[in-house]
């Protein structure tokens, strides 16, 4: 576009002969005639465009941002240390000192929820990133090489898909045990990421398959480019959209799965602050005395998963509505 034509005032801008003619001959415009808007569509920043088109997704994004900020600034935002045990104030109901009450060790529930967002986000992002990336690599390879490779990979994916997510994750936890490096249980991350691999692989494969048939891929092959170059230069950029969509959608699922595993006592372990863990064990015993121990961590899980689902859904509508998550 010619830069001299850019028009910050948003006024109708005559474009082309037709528009010129319309301006030159005002007599031809009948009252009530259809007004044609010749303005050049303004080029918005993609983020702004997303926010205008997807208000629900924006709401989700805001909640996610809030969570990320809470996780980063947890030591400053949280009113108490999440591990601080206070035997004088066990099971205290919500009050100005403890906004969401305290648990059976006298630990501040609000602080534990704020610090719990670190666990949820770390596990959610890492497992989803690892699972989606492995899935995408498998999907692209499967589509690009085709034939017997494709057949074997797809049957393998079918087999993994035959296990319910949580059953598979639990089985992996049972097999691998714990492996904590940098305060993160990497086996737990693998257990949560593994069930995502076949789903991402399927979606990415179907996107990559349609790209593989494009003439420019043939052209690249004829030109003698290596497989690596064709895959990275020509195929990968075209499957970024489904990859990103699946990645976002799975963060929510990963948070939910982590909460379920921790709730069962097979995920994150005490004394780390994690939402699922806050609901497990003793929380059930104090149903009557301390309902706040149950209500608030669950609200945090639901809100987080809700936000990621909302954002993921909108991102899909915005980038590529045909993709089925």
């Amino acid at each position: 576009m010619n830069p001299s034509q850019s028009n910050p005032q948003d006024e109708p801008l005559p474009l082309g002969a037709l528009a010129q003619a319309a301006h030159a001959a005002p007599a031809m415009t009948l009252p009530g005639a259809i007004q044609v808007d010749y303005r050049i569509p303004k080029r918005r920043h993609p983020l702004v465009a997303f926010m205008r088109q997807q208000p629900l997704g924006t709401a989700g994004l805001l909640i996610i941002l809030l969570m990320v900020l809470a996780a980063i600034f947890a030591p400053w935002v949280a009113p108490y240390d999440p591990l601080d045990v206070d035997y004088a104030g066990l099971l205290a109901p919500p009050s100005p000192e403890h906004l969401l009450g305290t648990d059976n060790f006298g630990r501040d529930v609000l602080s534990r929820i704020i610090f719990g967002s670190q666990t949820a986000l770390a596990v959610g992002f890492l497992s989803s990133l690892i699972g989606s990336t492995i899935g995408a690599v498998i999907g692209v390879a499967s589509a690009y090489f085709g034939g017997i490779t494709d057949l074997i990979i797809q049957r393998l994916m079918d087999i993994i898909l035959a296990f319910p997510i949580i059953v598979l994750a639990l089985a992996v936890v049972a097999v691998l045990g714990k492996n904590v490096i940098f305060g993160i249980d990497w086996n737990l991350i693998m257990a949560i990421g593994l069930p995502m691999i076949p789903k991402v692989a399927r979606v990415v494969r179907s996107s990559a398959l349609s790209i593989r048939e494009m003439p420019y891929i043939d052209a690249a092959r004829t030109a003698g480019f290596s497989h690596v170059r064709i895959i990275f230069r020509h195929i990968v950029p075209n499957v970024v959209a489904p990859y990103l969509i699946m990645l976002t959608a799975f963060v929510g699922q990963a948070i939910l799965l982590e909460a379920s595993l921790s709730f069962l006592g097979l995920g994150v372990t005490e004394p780390t602050a994690a939402w699922g863990l806050m609901l497990s064990g003793s929380a059930i015993d104090f149903y009557e005395q301390a309902p706040w121990m149950i209500v608030f961590p669950g609200v945090a899980i639901s809100l987080a998963v809700f936000a990621f689902n909302l954002f993921g859904d909108s991102l899909r509508d915005w980038l590529d509505p045909r993709i089925k998550i």
Binding site: D158, I160, P164, I165, A174, Y287, I294
Partner: protein, 317 residues
């Protein structure tokens, strides 16, 4: 149709075999020797000869392929092995708990279908009105709320308003139907909410897609009553993907039950599985994982058959 069924049945075999191999390899990867775990688990001082004898008795000294063959053969004759924790046959332990889990799953499915079809249809017919927005928000929320937490909240509410505790013992359906249903309706509701959300969203999106089709326009142009257009022409075609989702979710419901059974103190498959994982009861874990996977594959097969029956085009492809 018969040819199609046979073809699909044959396709199941490699998947089933693959699942069995994966589960078997998992058991091998668990590290350690099951005999050592069993006999020396609590640091007991067991002489090496007894360990060796036990290994021979269990066939663990044979090559891995022979072991796999034996395991597979045993399962075909209904022998799943013995639980490493209780010492009872695995099949017996599972069978005694299966009824409960299946009943909750069936109840949740009925609940989900009863909610999803009308809600999804309403949402699609009143697209972009407040009805649609409300149903969509409720169903997106259903995807985010953990079913075990919903179960806890249900118990909390029942406790504060009706002083109802989850009973400590399970009442079978045939013994006292009323008691049984009162006990199981809540867990069914807790897992059914998520289930119905998934189905509602599917119902909405497929109905919206179908309503765009040419034959719907034709029917309307012919002057068919709108009610008939929706029920006869649109719904019957929009149901196919919903049937799939309902079937797949049913197969995966066992996953939702794994956690929810803990909350309601139900002694079903899910609880058994979690206990087995926590106790490293490998024979139990592998049998349950295999059972669930086989169940999923069979449900998938049934869905395919249902599809072929509902849509004749599939049979002739």
């Amino acid at each position: 149709m018969l040819r199609y069924i046979v073809q699909r049945l044959l396709l199941m075999i490699p998947t089933l075999l693959g699942v069995a191999i994966l589960v078997f390899l998992m058991l091998r990867l668990m590290g350690g020797d099951p005999v050592e775990v069993m006999l020396r688990g609590e640091g007991a001082n067991v002489p090496q000869e007894i360990i060796e004898a036990e290994r021979v008795r269990l066939g663990l000294d044979k090559p891995i392929v022979v072991q796999f063959g034996r395991w597979l053969g045993g399962m075909l004759t209904g022998d799943f092995g013995v639980s490493m924790w209780t010492g009872n046959p695995v099949s017996h332990e599972i069978a005694s708990r299966l009824q409960l889990s299946i009943q909750v799953a069936v109840m949740a499915t009925i609940l989900a279908v009863l909610l999803a079809i009308p809600l999804g249809t309403l949402s699609a017919l009143y697209k972009d009105t407040w009805i649609d927005h409300l149903i969509r928000v409720v169903s997106i929320a259903g995807l985010g709320i953990p079913s075990f937490w919903l179960g806890m909240i249900i118990i909390l509410l029942l406790l504060s308003y009706f002083h109802w505790h989850p009973p400590l013992t399970f009442t079978p359906l045939l013994e006292n139907p009323r008691e049984n249903l009162l006990q199981l309706i809540w867990p069914a509701l807790a897992v059914g909410y998520r289930y119905s959300s998934v189905a509602t969203r599917m119902m909405r999106s497929t109905l919206l897609e179908v309503l765009q089709e040419d034959y719907i326009r034709t029917a309307r142009a012919k002057g068919v009553y709108e009610r008939l257009v929706v029920t006869r022409h649109a719904l019957s075609n929009a149901m196919l993907p919903v049937v799939t989702v309902v079937g797949l979710e049913f197969a995966f419901l066992i996953g939702g039950l794994v956690v929810t059974e803990q909350v309601f103190n139900l002694n079903g498959i899910g609880k058994l599985f979690v206990q087995a994982v926590a106790r490293s009861d490998f024979t139990m874990v592998q049998s349950l994982v295999l059972l669930v996977a086989v169940f999923f594959i069979v449900v998938n097969f049934v869905i395919d058959m249902l599809y072929a029956w509902l849509d004749p085009r599939i049979r002739y492809r």
